[in-house]
């Protein structure tokens, strides 16, 4: 039996990697992937705690997160595609029309 804390360490590491990915990566697709990584870290934490407390609402939450995350990525990718169609860029630093 692997202790619960191991899962929590793993999910904390995944979460921090996700945050670093969002902040450091300049490619839009990779930023979206990093956000997915953060959400999966959250899912792992929820399942771990759900198992720890012996109640299931944490696992239900995971299902909701999956649904919301896919909806979010759906809209996000649609936006990337709209912009890409007009000008073939995926580099976030090039999105600087606003605020000038």
């Amino acid at each position: 039996m692997i202790p619960a804390s191991y899962y929590l360490y793993l999910s904390a590491i995944l979460f921090v990697l996700g945050i670093i990915g969002v902040l450091v990566r300049r490619n839009l697709i990779l930023i979206l992937i990093s956000i997915e990584l953060m959400l999966n870290a959250v899912n792992l934490t929820f399942v771990t705690f759900s198992n720890y407390w012996g109640v299931y609402d944490g696992q239900v939450f995971v299902l909701f997160i999956m649904v919301a995350a896919s909806a979010q990525v759906g809209v996000g990718l649609a936006l990337v595609k709209t912009i890409f169609k007009k000008k073939a860029i995926v580099d976030v630093d090039k999105f600087n029309l606003l605020g000038q």
Binding site: L8, F15, G18, V22, L28, I31, L32, I35, M38, L39, A41, V42, T45, F46, T48, F49, S50, Y52, W53, V55, D57, G58, V60, F61, F64, I65, A68, A71, Q72, V73, V75, G76, L79, V80, T82, I83, K86, K87, V92, F95, L97, L98, G99
Partner: protein, 504 residues
């Protein structure tokens, strides 16, 4: 609880869920109507949306008679607090529909989906105001966020609009990721997701304060994103500038007020104990969250106001001003008394009138002169006196000068803050200094409109303002002054709405 009890509670709850159900029905109806009406660009979609909103309005008012109750097995609450916010959201939606009908930006586009999305967004705001469980809070916030992304990008042939939507989506996904991690830590500490149970568990047990602090800070990331408070405000100027102006006006009020509803409910229920005699809450002993929010409020006000000074674009200026106003409204949250909550609610209503009004004047000028730069507003007072005077009223109110509604709103906030004791005097001083800074940049717009000469090459002939615009300006402008002179009815409504389940 037995399964049959759970099912029975769900069925009994439907009666209390009528406004949301009607709104869902309206959305489905609009999707079908849009398919049938697609060929002709008719005003029918907006008319359906308005009639539907009217029906929902009656259903909400009817909820006052049903009384307060927790519904769907403690997932949502129907109480005076949520009804107040629902009325505010519906009022916002109705006015934004009127603004959208007039908007030139949207004309020539298919607006069927636009109004449908607007109604779904309203449904999301309703859920945010009544959510009492972390799952419903999360789902409601996501519903509002995802629909907002689509609406901000609605002018997708304009690159600014797409860029704004994309920035909004990335910030939104990132901050909801942070919020979820915070919720998961809180779940690990307490073993429950219901905010009332979280409150009980945290009050009864000594939890690790460091873990609790991290979790509250992360959760505040998600909520702070919704109200655009520092340090999660980066999206707001870009999004406000790029989005269609009616949507900008909506975003500056709807989701912001909903964010306040969630913040007040979450912090007051889950992280404090209620003292019924003194009519105030006590923050949990192992986390001093009022100080955290006080620092956020001070930073939000100061940053919003200082950056607004340097703006040349009126929409961007109003974006920073709305960041600053989120800071003011947070003053009512930190004091943890009914008076503070009441001041925040009052301020949100006042803010609704003055901010929508200011954005509406920007829409009018943008449609006619095709620009939103302060330099292009020069001499507009002589060309279009009515919108210019109305803008004067809204900006005076946003500054907080008497005899406008903004003054009364700010007065209540600062009164609640001073009454809370010397602990928060510094915050009141920061707030007052900020009001002075705000006067400077609002006055810049007024100076351009009233005192500067019309730029060369621009014809000085009067602009035509349609009676429709004048009526809408009156609808927003008259209450802005009237509430400044006679605020008792609104104050009564706000003080009545402080009650939320089941602390009273």
């Amino acid at each position: 609880m037995a399964l049959s009890d759970i099912i029975r509670d769900n069925i009994n709850s439907l009666n209390y869920f009528l406004p949301e159900l009607l709104l869902t029905g309206l959305v489905l109806l609009m999707i079908i109507a849009d398919l049938l009406l697609k060929k002709e660009r008719s005003p029918w979609m907006s008319i359906i949306a308005l009639i539907g909103s009217g029906v929902v309005l009656f259903a909400i008012i009817n909820q006052y008679e049903l009384g307060s109750r927790s519904i769907f097995n403690n997932m949502l609450a129907v109480d005076e607090f949520s009804i107040f916010f629902k009325l505010l959201f519906l009022a916002t939606t109705i006015l934004v529909i009127f603004l959208s009908i007039a908007s030139v930006e949207l004309s020539g586009r298919s607006v069927g989906e636009y109004f449908t999305l607007l109604m779904i967004l309203t449904l999301g705001l309703f859920l945010m105001a009544s959510a009492t469980h972390m799952i419903t809070i999360f789902i409601a916030i996501e519903l509002v966020s995802i629909i907002s992304f689509a609406l901000v990008t609605y002018l997708k042939t304009r690159r600014r609009s797409s860029e704004a939507g994309l920035k909004y989506a990335i910030y939104g996904a990132f901050s909801s990721g942070l919020m979820l991690y915070g919720i998961s830590i809180l779940y690990g500490l307490t073993g429950t997701l219901n905010i009332y149970e979280i409150g009980e568990v945290l009050a009864g047990r000594d939890t690790n304060s460091l873990a609790l602090l991290i979790s509250v800070l992360l959760i505040m990331a998600g909520f702070g994103y919704k109200i655009a408070s520092v340090p999660f405000h980066f999206w707001s100027p870009d999004v406000y500038e790029g989005a269609p102006t009616p949507i900008t006006a909506f975003l500056s009020i709807g989701p912001k007020a909903a964010g306040f509803a969630v913040i007040i409910r979450f912090f007051n229920v889950a992280l404090s104990n209620y003292d019924g005699v003194a009519e105030q809450w006590l923050a949990l002993s192992n986390i001093n969250w009022p100080q955290i929010i006080a620092v956020i409020a001070a930073a939000t006000m100061t940053l919003g106001n200082l950056v607004a000074i340097a703006q040349d674009n009126v929409k961007r200026l109003l974006a920073y001003s709305s960041i600053a106003h989120a800071g003011y409204a947070l003053l009512g949250v930190v004091v943890l008394s009914s008076q503070g909550v009441y001041a925040t609610l009052f301020y949100l209503v006042v803010y609704y009138f003055m901010n929508l009004g200011a954005f509406f004047v920007v829409i009018i000028f943008q449609d006619i002169i095709g620009s939103e730069k302060i330099d292009d507003f020069k001499g507009l007072a002589s060309r279009a006196p009515i919108p210019a005077i109305a803008m004067g009223v809204f900006l005076f109110s946003l500054t907080g000068l008497p005899p406008t509604a903004g003054f009364i709103g700010k007065f209540y906030l600062f009164a609640a803050l001073i009454k809370a004791g010397p602990e928060f005097y510094w915050l009141a001083i920061v707030g007052l200094l900020n009001s002075v800074v705000a006067l400077y940049y609002y006055a810049r717009i007024l100076k351009a409109m009233f005192f500067d000469k019309i730029s060369e090459g621009v014809s000085p002939e009067p602009l035509k303002i349609s009676p429709y615009y004048v009526t809408l300006l009156a609808v927003l402008g008259i209450p802005t002054i009237l509430v400044g002179l006679y605020w008792a009815p609104l104050a009564n409504l706000a003080s009545h709405s402080v009650h939320f389940l089941p602390t009273f």
